[in-house]
């Protein structure tokens, strides 16, 4: 299992989701990814993307105007 981090600060919808999607495609089931965003829309979009694609959102938090997501890749990421 690996842990990766993705900086999506300053990116606006849907770029953070695209970056997450592309990053997850390169990870293996069980790998974890932390994503840092500044677009408040990601609070809706990244959890929705995880639900649609069957990945596990371990937690999400807001810290100093940043939206931080921690997710675990599930099943076939492709």
């Amino acid at each position: 299992m690996s842990r990766a981090r993705l900086d999506c600060r300053r990116l606006l919808c849907p770029m953070p989701v695209i970056r997450v999607q592309d990053k997850v495609a390169k990870l293996q089931p069980g790998d974890e990814l932390e994503v840092v965003c500044t677009d408040p829309g990601t609070m809706q979009d990244i959890p929705a993307w995880c639900r649609i694609n069957g990945h596990l959102l371990l937690n999400q938090q807001v810290r100093d105007d940043e939206y931080i997501f921690h997710l675990r890749v599930q099943g076939d990421p492709h």
Binding site: P14, V17, I18
Partner: protein
Amino acid sequence: MQRKAVALISGGLDSLLAVRVMQDQGVYVEGINFFTGFCVEGHTHAIRKKDQKKLKRNNALWCAEQLGIKLHIIDIVEEYKDIVFNPKYGYGANLNPCLDCKIFMVKKAREWMESHDFDFIITGEVVGQRPKSQRKDTLPVVQKDSGIDDRLLRPLCAKNLPETLPEREGWVSREKLYDFSGRSRKPQMALAKQFGFEDYAQPAGGCCFLTDAQYSVKLQDLWKARGDKQYEMDDIMLLKVGRHIRPVPEYKLIISREEGEGKFLQGYRKQYPSLKTTSHPGPLCLIDGDFAEEQIEQAARIVARYSQGKNDPEVELEFRRTDGETRSIKVQPLPPHELKKEWVV
């Protein structure tokens, strides 16, 4: 054998319904949503502080979740430039290359379909709904120029169109497809009600900044100033933010209108020289283009005009170069009558 279709998902009602109609016929569907850089959704809301509390969501993702399908969001910003620069079929409203755009997206979806072993493409198009890309005479152009031919099914208006391969092969029943036409949204709304969909997006005039008159003027101004039709992702983002003032052809000022925009523009201070009022609360301004040293004062006077010191005899600003070097400038704010109308883009 369950057939597989890939659907173009815009996030609007029509594509939502088209997928649902296919699912009712037992077709397995996955969605594709293309990001051109010009999508309206949420960008201004995400930037402006006053809009921070508005609900922001990506409608394509929302649709996919309602439908229980996978959605692939594909970045086509670079490839899409050719479509914006030279649309074979010209522009529709403002700078919207609508027919070329549709052809391009269907072509990209066809490539995806072929590489992922799917059987056909579906769209939410309705004949007669859009003045250029969804006319009875232009719908076949999309099929021909994209290379998809009769593997493109439009479930909401299929009964008004020639039979497609999925219908001929019995993968779907033509009888259970629809015959919607024209600009009325009533049939779609009735079908949405029947399926139990509420809270769907209803974008006015599509979901593309290129359909927006003011945005198109700003983009044309950018092209004119640079002497060619080029843009980068940062350019098209910045066209959505602030007031744009071009006092001379060589440079323009991008001046924040409120706190959220100021914060957003701050992120560009390593790419663009900037001005910020220091003696009074006021905007942040990026300077885009080439300017001479003596033109900085004029720029500063314009920026000061939008600060809380606009009626004071003097306002102090910080001029910052992209390498971080700063210096202070004191200027008299430009009086309103000296700000020429033609400067405002």
